[in-house]
Symmetry: D3
Subunit: 335 residues, 6 copies
């Protein structure tokens, strides 16, 4: 096995006041780079995998900083292109307790939205590749992004590569003319591993399954029946008490069986962004190295840990995640 993974998607700058301040209260902001698929790449690279990320960045010092950031994490950026459009970005005001976090996007005319599908050599990118990961964000950004992704998926499918998808539907995207549900259904039909739950299935299939265990099982069965390429369903369940306290849990429908993890409680949440991506990365790593139950435990532990790490990217190592899997939740100082 090559242990090689490919991801494709936008890299954005995230700009955020620190210490729960609002933008209006601030003169300084922290910034990070993130993007749902790049977050997965970054976590897998931190786990020690060989990961390439394909994207388009701006041809200026902002784009250069994004590339430098990916390099610092060890992501292969040899297929990152540049164009004259600005790097996508978003502003984040971090909430607390009963105050939700708020995001303002600036991405729909950015360097990734204006990606040229013909600039990507998918055959080279997918050579010796074991996993290809995509999310529902990408095809929602622009028609070009959709077309580029679709090309990649078709080639990946042809090559028999494992295709993982987190097909989240975001209503603040999809304003270039295509219907999100239809596109997602089409692209999920090219994929093999579904990382999502009842909400995502209901959105794609137009069904109305309930979110409890039985609903999840029925939804999963229906998805597998209607979408032959999909073989497995892995779901992250996050129960938010408030913006500062979260419970995470994983469940899955694999080999005609339901499995689930224990719940992990995360108080004093540091960052909620990218927790789903941490789950996805944990799952891909888990599927490459463990059985299904342990892979799911690993995903859930990765997801829990990401709540304690600032920024979009899960910087936990395999050893860090395994400690949580093994129940060391007490947070004793490691000297």
């Amino acid at each position: 096995m090559s242990n090689k993974i490919l991801t494709f998607g936008e890299v954005m700058m995230r700009i955020s006041p620190s210490n729960n301040k609002t933008l209006q209260q601030s003169k300084e902001v922290e910034f990070f780079f993130g993007g749902t698929e790049m977050n997965v790449a970054a976590s897998l690279s931190t786990f020690g995998c060989d990961v390439k990320h394909i994207t388009n960045v701006s041809n200026d010092f902002v784009g250069d900083s994004a590339i430098s950031y990916m390099k610092s994490l060890g992501i292969n950026i040899s297929q990152v292109n540049k164009n004259e459009h600005p790097l996508g970005l978003y502003f984040l005001e971090v909430g607390s307790a009963v105050r939700p976090s708020r995001i303002a996007y600036n991405r729909l005319n950015g360097s990734f939205a204006n990606i040229n599908p013909n600039d990507i050599d998918w055959n080279a990118a997918l050579q010796d590749c074991e996993y290809f990961h995509w999310t529902g964000i990408t095809p929602g950004i622009s028609e070009n992004a959709y077309l580029a992704l679709k090309q990649g998926l078709e080639i990946a499918k042809e090559k028999g590569i494992n295709i993982t998808t987190d097909p989240a539907y975001r209503s603040n995207l999809w304003n270039y003319g295509k219907k999100g549900q239809e596109v997602l259904k089409e692209l999920v039909g090219l994929s093999t591993i579904f990382i999502g739950g009842v909400n995502e299935i209901n959105e794609i299939l137009g069904t109305q399954f309930s979110s409890d265990k039985d609903g999840f099982i029925e939804a999963s069965k229906t998805l597998l029946n209607t979408t032959p390429s999909i073989q497995k369903v892995f779901d992250k369940v996050r129960i938010g008490k408030d913006a500062s306290n979260q419970l995470t849990k994983g469940r899955a429908w694999v080999d005609n069986q339901y499995i689930e993890t224990t719940e992990i409680e995360v108080n004093q949440v540091v960052d909620r962004i990218g927790t789903g991506d941490a789950f996805a990365a944990g799952l891909i790593y888990g599927l490459m190295h463990f059985d299904y139950q342990k892979a799911l435990d690993f995903s859930n532990a990765a997801c829990a840990l990401k709540h304690t790490i600032l920024g979009d990217v899960n910087l936990a190592s395999v050893a860090d995640v395994l400690e949580v899997v093994n129940g060391n939740l007490g947070g004793r100082i490691k000297r």
Copy 2:
């Protein structure tokens, strides 16, 4: 209705180390502007109301910064005067868990304490005004502040304006010769809406009601009997588990009836200063737009939200508050 509100009181600079540091541990501090009545003005202005704040600031760049801050929030500052005394200020060390926050004041010889009552054109200020809000802080600062406030209240009463009061007694004030309880009793006698509870009533009337529901009802009845101008009593109940965890709840005695809100739990408190002012502003807005129950719910939700916002001022919008009123406490990210 004019929707116009007037507030009167000191604007102070608050100086505070970040991240729970003590002053001795710090070389840098954050600063904010605040002041109990200005906080009410700021919240109401953020709610979209037309609010004027009357105060006195220093005739230097510190006073100019205070004015600029009020302008940034949309408060009408056309009746703010300046004098040669320094702007009042306070230092705040923010506690956590079992460590209380500590405040050191520098205000008793400041620009507001030295306000000249004759400089205020109360008739102009109160023209078309619907609500006038004052607190027990102002008359405790100096005789001049007391005299200025009293003039304003007498003119407001004459004009039949709604006069809300949060008549908190602070023992670290009142060192210019007057007795706090007597002055507060006098000024509450010019007001129409009492924002306070059993403690405040006991202080003013010299009674000893208990703080439970029955005590509150009895205290309210007694206040209404002995103080004919007062028509309604609204009480914010904050149950502090520790400096980081709070429960908030509102209760009221209106139209000979007791009403109350559900409790809202706020973990991971960001800032406790100004939560009472957020309640008062929520109440004034609520009374202008909703029935008593919803007004009280709105006040309590505003108070809860303020715990999650840094600084003295509640920056939540009406929509933000209504979400909490409607029970959306989970803090999901708003994209």
Copy 3:
């Protein structure tokens, strides 16, 4: 005289590492709001004038922060609109000595670029207005911005309002189809006061005057001959030794006479952005209050002072500028 001034143009967020760092070296950045015409408005408002700024901002917390910033400076924002496009912004890396500063823009699909010309009530905006200021940036952003500006200029011309213009041509704009030189020539033809020098005249007229005194006089005469609406030419001359040391000087052609100021040396430059806008604001204020020579001296002193102030906006007061006009350049501490 009404003392009322109108400005029209984009408000951008400026994002910049502090202490000469590059973006790649940074995790935190400072931000400011600026925009060439708003900078003029802000300076004039700080001088005590009654200034309205017309613009479009994003309908999110970023746009709200921009509005709050303008309010904090006392700018009338009653005709600011919002739309669903993101606020324009730019990244600035501040150079030093032989290292130039660098800017990366993200503005061409922003809220201002997408302004709807029909949303602006120019008649209301220009009522009782004494001066209307525009720059060559605005028509370069988008066709909508050009059309909106042209409408405003035509109405302003009709009303006989003084129209000042800083018609700088920026090659990184003008990619919506129109030719910059042609548009600028057309719009300068609607204006009355030209704030620019030989470069700007050469660009608009296609001439090749030299930049020395004689060249400036000839260029000015030619401009007045070919553009009847223009009555006066005011030029800021900045001689940059390097990114940290600058000389500023003003010169003008008014009433068929050449006037100029002494040179002011600015070492240890704090910020070069907005120095031309400070000159323009100084000039408008000067023309309203002083004779031509003193107006030019005032403009040049304002321009010099802006080099010492962080951000895009000149925060110097009239008294601050007059001190420099009066030759107090020694920077003694003012207690």
Copy 4:
């Protein structure tokens, strides 16, 4: 009574990203000075005691800063020496919830490790001294540190001074050739008050007592039997729910009796470093001023408060600690 206390041990610089960031995510870090015995000295000095700390620092501006820090806390530094080795330091990444904090040390070839035992005038240092405090860290650093400490203990024992010890065994030390357990047993044999619990006793005696109440009593009895110099055992029990939430409790075996404190819950932990040192300092102060029960209550309250204070050192005053002893845990603002 002289009220005079002596401590001996390394002073290190602690370097730490703020806001739970990892080092890799940071460009700026906060720093503090700490060291287990100096932390005890600092707390006792803040309590108003007369404390001298003996150590060795680097002969450069880093060592000077460490000395200046100790002086700022009122610690007597007249017996601090300097040498040409660098000051010891450690990097701390602060965890949260399920993420543990991590420490990377740089101390084993530092100025303290290279201390010259002959440079210390123990007789002068211990004159009129009431208490001498040491921990198991010091003899683990280097042979020189061990030898210096042993000399001090022997002289202190001779003088009949109370010798408190927190004999924690740290496996990341002890790489200079000696066996930690043997050395600790030897040095505990020179001490009179044991600040530690079942773990520490098991380590030193090679026993396997359980950590419950009975186990603690048995372990204490065994310790007193086998180590005649030890008269009392005081144990801090910290039950960590996770890195952000802790319970603290004290228990002791004194005068053949078991005593214990109530539990104090600390949510939203600010800093876990130095909480044991805060307990030790509280105990020494308590033994000098209170009966055993109150001394233990005082220790536990000091330990709880330290969790809310940034840095290695407990900056709480005696009054602050007594408030917690008296059950004021609600964290009301102190104005």
Copy 5:
């Protein structure tokens, strides 16, 4: 010789935006402690002298921080008292080039202004004292401050102690009823070493000497003639090109002779506050250790170095100053 020095005067908190920002532009500020006489004490303590500073601070955590700061510098604070008034403070906006720095004070009703002259045991303080230093700031703050200082001076004179004075007249003080010139003349009449130049002499004597060399000599002679206690005159001459570039030079009239130093140029000034105090401290140290010429050179070098150090206090060591005295101005890195 005892090498012991006494200083007396206010300790203030200085609050200042960093990086030349204005307060209005800031949300965070740096703070320092300073005060003209304490600055002298701090520099002398850093030089290794035994210095006691007498002052009054607030009885709160702000005053405690001021005391901790003095302790960190090794100043003897055993005669510092506390009262219930707030610590004096000032806000500083740091200018650059042609923009002057600005200060806003908050001191006239602070803890030092309210000092009780009877609280000071001058006999104890002046025992074995070699030098007592005062400035013209102290008697300008309040009548109490004046009375306390006068008592100290009278006792110091009686004891034959060297009394140095920097009798600067500040017009923004002296509003408690006394005339500055008269008081300064009286107190200079109790002193022995005059640290000031033509301006100070003209102010005190009502003369009009010119500031050139001849004027300085004539003024000095006249001062010595009319004020028998004064034996020597030392003058710091600072020629400010602008806020960022300064020339410093010392001159003196001692033993009926004129001496002067070379000029030192300081570009890229870091901080101008406290440069006169650095000169005074350098002079006192110089007079204790060197001949007049070297003492003056040392003072001037200390003054020049202070321009490169942030805050009110000169942190340069004797070795640092001597390097500048010896002409090493090139600023090579010291490894």
Copy 6:
């Protein structure tokens, strides 16, 4: 040509207060990674070259951060090893004007000093390599470092690789027993290109040439005569007016000819560390792409630019450097 470059040396963390503060004045510090040879690698990688750096870092999160930093710059880190010793580091206090910067080192027992020479596969590292760069720092750190370097040089020499050396002698190193001058002479004898001037030659040869042009020529000739492997001498001349103002110039002796560059003035210096390394990197790049004169101009411009960039590493691109070579020193904003 392979365009491949190898460097070998320590990577240190640099810890520094910002804004010219001293450590004693600070609570926060910035940090960077640097090291003279890695700085050369970083600059060459930024120029687009293929660079590998060999070093040893600590096996903890500090070492991981150093690796991540090198990766972010595109340096090949595949031959970086880890051991259990802490990463070397240094503290830097940045001076200004007449105040020199100060450095305190903590490196002599670090991970690089403890490098195991046998862990390095020099044959692999030097395969297809065009240039190998070393400095006099490395053999001064420890015997192991010296031995490792010597092995590398011998293999490189055998392979006929260009070996550049900046053989600076630092007196604060060399305390492991070897004599610096002897070792440097030995290793220079294995090198081909000498980057240094009269000082370095005098140190190595024990000569006493003067530093003027003639002295440089004579020294170069003597070096070439006595050290046959050396073919060229390139010298960076930096004339420091003070810590804030520098002149840079390059001169060389190549092909029996003297060449030199024009002087570049750098006012308002941002950072002086690593300017020599920027020169060396510029030279290696220049020798690979330009003739000698242009290579020297390029080196000198790179050196000048580095003075304007924070940190140890020159982040300027080839285009940035060429602009300075072409005389664009005015620092105009690049939009």
